[in-house]
C-alpha cells in the first residue's frame, strides 16, 4: 500500500485516495477539427512508462482535492507532489535525497517544506520531519 503525502492533509494511506490516471492531458483546443486518429489519441492513448509517471490523485476521504504526483511505476517510490495546473517538476534539478525515499515504508518522509518557492514539493528533497503542513503552491 502506498503512503501518499497529501499536500493538504499530510501522509495518508492509499485507501483514502482515488487514482486519476495520467496528468497533463489537455482537452483538445478545437475538438471539432480533430480527425478520428487524433480523437482516439486523446480518448484512449496514455503514456505507460516503466519508470517515472506523472499522474493525478484525489484525496477522496480527506480534503477531496486533486493533485499531481510523480511516481516510479517499478519501485512505487513517490518522487514529487505538485498542484494541478503546475508544470511537471524536473526531478534531475532536485537536490539529492538526504534520507531514504521509500515512500511506501511506514517511516517514509512526508510533505516537508523543502524547496520553498517552487511549485512542486520534491519528496526526495524533503526532510524526515513529521510535518503535515501543505507545501507552498498547494491547492487549498
Amino acid at each position: 500500500m502506498l503512503l501518499i503525502p497529501c499536500p493538504n492533509c499530510g501522509p495518508r494511506d492509499e485507501t483514502e485516495f482515488h487514482y486519476g490516471g495520467q496528468a497533463h492531458v489537455p482537452y483538445p483546443e478545437n475538438p471539432n477539427e480533430l480527425t478520428d486518429t487524433e480523437w482516439s489519441r486523446y480518448l484512449f492513448y496514455r503514456e505507460n512508462p516503466k519508470g517515472i509517471f506523472a499522474e493525478r490523485w484525489v484525496h477522496s476521504t480527506g480534503c477531496r482535492q486533486w493533485f499531481n504526483m510523480l511516481r516510479d511505476t517499478v519501485s512505487y517510490d513517490i518522487q514529487a507532489i505538485y498542484p494541478m495546473g503546475a508544470r511537471r517538476p524536473d526531478l534531475a534539478a532536485a537536490p539529492a535525497a538526504e534520507a531514504g525515499t521509500a515512500s511506501t515504508a511506514a517511516d517514509s518522509t512526508t510533505t516537508g517544506t523543502a524547496a520553498p518557492g517552487t511549485a512542486a514539493t520534491s519528496i526526495a528533497a524533503s526532510t524526515t520531519s513529521a510535518s503535515t503542513t501543505a507545501p507552498e503552491g498547494a491547492t487549498k
Binding site: E14, T15, G21, D36, W39, R46, N48, E55, T73
Partner: protein, 406 residues
C-alpha cells in the same frame, strides 16, 4: 475433485540453443501466448525457422502468475467467438500436445449480488446460448447444490441472488500448459531462447528487419510481440504507441485442504474468485491495483477486501491460512478486450491487452496470432480485435464479462 496424478516429465523438455543470427520470424515473449503462437506457426503454417525470445525464464511472467481459470461466457459476439474457440482448443490440446496438463472441466459460476447483476447475468446467458456457448442461470438453491460451502443466506452484505454457470469451463495446470507447448515447439525445431531481453528493433524505413537483444542482434522478416504487461515498452522501442495501461494484479493460495470446493466461483461485485487446485490449495484472485505499475506486487488492502468477500461467501475459509501471494502485470485496454493484429510498423504484429483474462485465451491467441504473423493478415477471429477499433469506435466493451475490474 480430480484424482489424476501429475504427469511425469523428463529432465529436459526443450533445448537451450544459442540464438542464430537470423530467423524467418521472431516471437518476443516466452509465456503461454508466445509459446502457443510459435506452436501454431510451426504446426499450421510450416514455419519452423523461428525463435521465441524470453527475457527471463520460460513462462515465468503472467503464465506463472494467474489463477488458471478457463471459460468462454463473454457477452459480445466477437469475444464469445474467440474465447469459445480457445475453449474448444483446450478440450483437444492435451491429446494434440501429448501432454496432460490436467484440464479439469469442473464448471464456473459467476455470482450475481444485485438486481443489476441479475439482469446483466441473465442477458449474458441468453447471449451465450445464441453464440453456442453453454450457459445456464442458477437460482441461489441451485448455486448451493453445486457448491455446498457457499453461503447463500440473506443476512450478508451482498447476498447471492443467483449465478451464471458454464459447465464446460474449468481450470488447468498453467505450468504444464507452458511445458506442453514448449516441448512440442522444440520438437518441431523452434528455438526457445531464455535470458534474452529485447533492447531495440532494426528497421528499414517503416519495416522491421531485426531485433536487438541482450544476446546480440537477430535479423528477421517478421516480429510478433507477446509480452503482456511490457507490450507498450516494446512498442515504444519500435516507434509506436499502444492504448495500454499496465496494472498489478495479485492472487494468493491457501495451504492444502481436503477437496471442499467442487467448481470455480467468481464474483465481480464483491470481487473474489476461488477454485481449489488439483493438489488442494484454495486459489483466490483479487482485483487490479488502481494505479499503473510494473512492480509485480499488489497492495495489501486489495487482499484485505478480497479476503473479506471470500470469508463472507465461504465461512469455512475463515480459518484457512494464506500460504503465499504474488502479483502479475496485466496490460489493460479501455474496453477490456485484447489487441491482436497489425501495428503501424510493417511486418511487426502485436498480441496484447488481454488484461486480466489472458490465460484462458492462450490457444486462440496463439492460433489467430500465428495466422496473422504468417499471412500478414488478421484471422477472422482476431480481426475485430484490431488496433484500429480505437479509431473507428468499434469497441468490444467486455467490462461486464471480464469478471475482474480493469
Amino acid at each position: 475433485m480430480s484424482t489424476q496424478q501429475l504427469p511425469e516429465h523428463p529432465d529436459f523438455l526443450w533445448r537451450n540453443p544459442e540464438p542464430k543470427s537470423s530467423y524467418d520470424a521472431v516471437v518476443v515473449g516466452g509465456g503461454g501466448h508466445g509459446l502457443a503462437t510459435a506452436y501454431f506457426l510451426a504446426k499450421n503454417h510450416g514455419m519452423t525457422n523461428i525463435a521465441v525470445l524470453e527475457k527471463g525464464w520460460l513462462a515465468g511472467g503472467n503464465m506463472a502468475r494467474n489463477t488458471t481459470i478457463i471459460r468462454s461466457n463473454y457477452l459480445w459476439d466477437e469475444s464469445a467467438a474467440i474465447y469459445e474457440h480457445a475453449l474448444k482448443l483446450w478440450e483437444i490440446l492435451p491429446e494434440e500436445l501429448e501432454y496432460d496438463f490436467l484440464f479439469s472441466q469442473r464448471g464456473v459460476m459467476n455470482l450475481a449480488h444485485t438486481l443489476g447483476d441479475v439482469r446483466e447475468s441473465i442477458r449474458r446467458v441468453g447471449a451465450n446460448k445464441l453464440n453456442g456457448v453453454d450457459a445456464e442461470w442458477l437460482d441461489p438453491q441451485q448455486v448451493k447444490e453445486l457448491c455446498p460451502i457457499l453461503n447463500i443466506s440473506d443476512n450478508i452484505r451482498y447476498p447471492v441472488m443467483g449465478a451464471t454457470y458454464q459447465p464446460r469451463a474449468g481450470i488447468a495446470k498453467h505450468d504444464h500448459v507452458a511445458w506442453a507447448f514448449a516441448r512440442k515447439c522444440d520438437e518441431m525445431g523452434v528455438d526457445i531462447i531464455q535470458n534474452c531481453e529485447v533492447t531495440g528493433f532494426l528497421k528499414d524505413g517503416n519495416r522491421v528487419v531485426g531485433v536487438k537483444t541482450s544476446r546480440g542482434t537477430i535479423h528477421t522478416e517478421k516480429v510478433g510481440l507477446c509480452a503482456a504487461g511490457h507490450s507498450s515498452v516494446l512498442a515504444e522501442m519500435a516507434g509506436f504507441q499502444l492504448p495500454i495501461q499496465s496494472h498489478p494484479l495479485q492472487a494468493l493460495v491457501s495451504e492444502l485442504h481436503e477437496p471442499v470446493h467442487p467448481t470455480v466461483v467468481m464474483s465481480n461485485h464483491v470481487h473474489v474468485y476461488v477454485s481449489q487446485a488439483h493438489k488442494g490449495e484454495l486459489v483466490m484472485g483479487a482485483g487490479v491495483d488502481s494505479y499503473n505499475g510494473y512492480g509485480q506486487r499488489g497492495s495489501f488492502h486489495v487482499i484485505e477486501q478480497q479476503m473479506a468477500a471470500a470469508v463472507e461467501l465461504f465461512p469455512i475459509f475463515a480459518r484457512a491460512h494464506v500460504l503465499r501471494t504474488w502479483g502479475g502485470i496485466v496490460d489493460t485496454t479501455l474496453d477490456a478486450s485484447p489487441i491482436v493484429g497489425l501495428t503501424p510498423v510493417e511486418n511487426m504484429f502485436v498480441n496484447c491487452g488481454w488484461g486480466t483474462g489472458g490465460f484462458k485465451g492462450t490457444p486462440a491467441a496463439g492460433l489467430t496470432f500465428a495466422h496473422t504473423i504468417a499471412t500478414g493478415e488478421p484471422h477472422k477471429l482476431n480481426k475485430p480485435f484490431s488496433l484500429e477499433r480505437f479509431e473507428t469506435g468499434a469497441l468490444i466493451d467486455e467490462h461486464g464479462a471480464a469478471a475482474v475490474a480493469h
